[in-house]
Amino acid sequence: MKQFVGVRVVQFNGTDLARFQFDPDLTYAAFFMNADGTLYGRFGSRSDMKDAEREISVEGFGKALAAALELHKGFPANKSSLLAKTGPPTRFKSPEEYPSLKGRYQRTLDPEKPVQSCVHCHQVLEAERKMYRSAGRPIPDEWLRPWPMPDVVGLSFDPKEKAKLRSVAAGSSAARDGFKAGDEILTLEGQPIISIADVQFVMHFAKAPAALKAEVLRAGKKSSLTLTLAADWRRPSNFAWRPSAWDLRRMGTGGLKLDPPSSDLATKAGIAPNSLALEIKHAGEYGEHALAKNAGFRKGDIIVAVDGKSAPMTEAELLALMLAKPVGAKVPATVVRGGQRLDLQIPTQ
């Protein structure tokens, strides 16, 4: 770290959103950059609320730092390959310009109330989604399922390396594309890759469908591959772990937090295997988060049918289904409570 100028940022207020584009549901994100603003790379990945270190490690961070130093040594000759790493322009320059945050937060922290006056990173994602929702438009996939882990196409990375594949899922599109365990991704779409977060960055902005050009190092030799992204490639991405999903629950299911029930509970409730079963772990109690509770849903209910569908689905898949409905729609659902089946309606907003 002594070879870097380290800057610790503890607020999102006033942040240049176009310059610092990262997964806003992270609790730790790092950028390595030149003094002229050119980005060498980013670090920080997450796919689970409880296990914050599944995708990151001190070793991985160290290797990203070393790779950033190499890029710094090659600067400015390598500048043209780095320009796309910053990302496209953003809707607003800084977080507090979003309509839902404007007036509530300022560009700087209140020194007397630093906690209360601080914009949390995930609030920007929520504010962006609200823009679509309040306009009655569907939330685009890149905002509903942002910063997808490469696992969605079959690529699983070693968190102790820069961007080295630990495994490639058999039968996945990445396996069909020729990626193999042990491959190190050197560039993606021409951008030097120094972390899993860099891979996520390219994928976050990728179209659907798309074909991403990759340069990989395999057994000491460089080779070119294409990472194919199908039209629905983002669909398996789980977004329910995200702090920003709390607001999606308000919009999509009226404030319900859902998880699969234990197999014992499902059996006792008479739910057939391989059918929809999502237990209500929490039903919001206040304001806009209490819509489902006010519609009759209770903690402990097990949802077994929604909108005529009874095939298994995750909470994220259910939220995506609900968020595709018009704002204010009430969607028929069946729950099991105390051995009885009840027909209710899930409210959206």
């Binding site: 770290m1 002594k2 070879q3 870097f4 100028v5 380290g6 800057v7 610790r8 940022v9 503890v10 607020q11 999102f12 942040t15 610092f20 990262f22 992270l26 609790t27 730790y28 994100a29 790092a30 950028f31 390595f32 950059m33 030149n34 003094a35 603003g37 060498y40 730092l65 950033a68 130093l69 710094h72 630093p114 906690v115 209360q116 990173c121």
Partner: protein, 66 residues
């Protein structure tokens, strides 16, 4: 009446809990600031200063949001 009293008590308890959580967090923020600045390796919460330091020294920046 009892219902209102219980509700009011609940709200007061919830409010007290929120205040305590904010105070705990404030303490953590203050401690974090003291720890980070004491180490001497980091510029604390001042990107302009960080960029100026990077220009002066020729070093790259490591900007950490946390």
């Amino acid at each position: 009446m009892l219902h209102r009293t219980v509700l009011l008590s609940g709200l007061l308890l919830a409010g007290a809990g929120a205040i305590q959580a904010a105070e705990n967090r404030l303490e953590r923020v203050k401690k974090d600031r003291a720890d980070v600045t004491a180490g001497g390796l980091w510029v604390y919460n001042d990107l302009d200063q960080g960029f100026a330091e990077a220009r002066r020294t020729g070093k790259p920046l490591a900007v950490v949001f946390r």
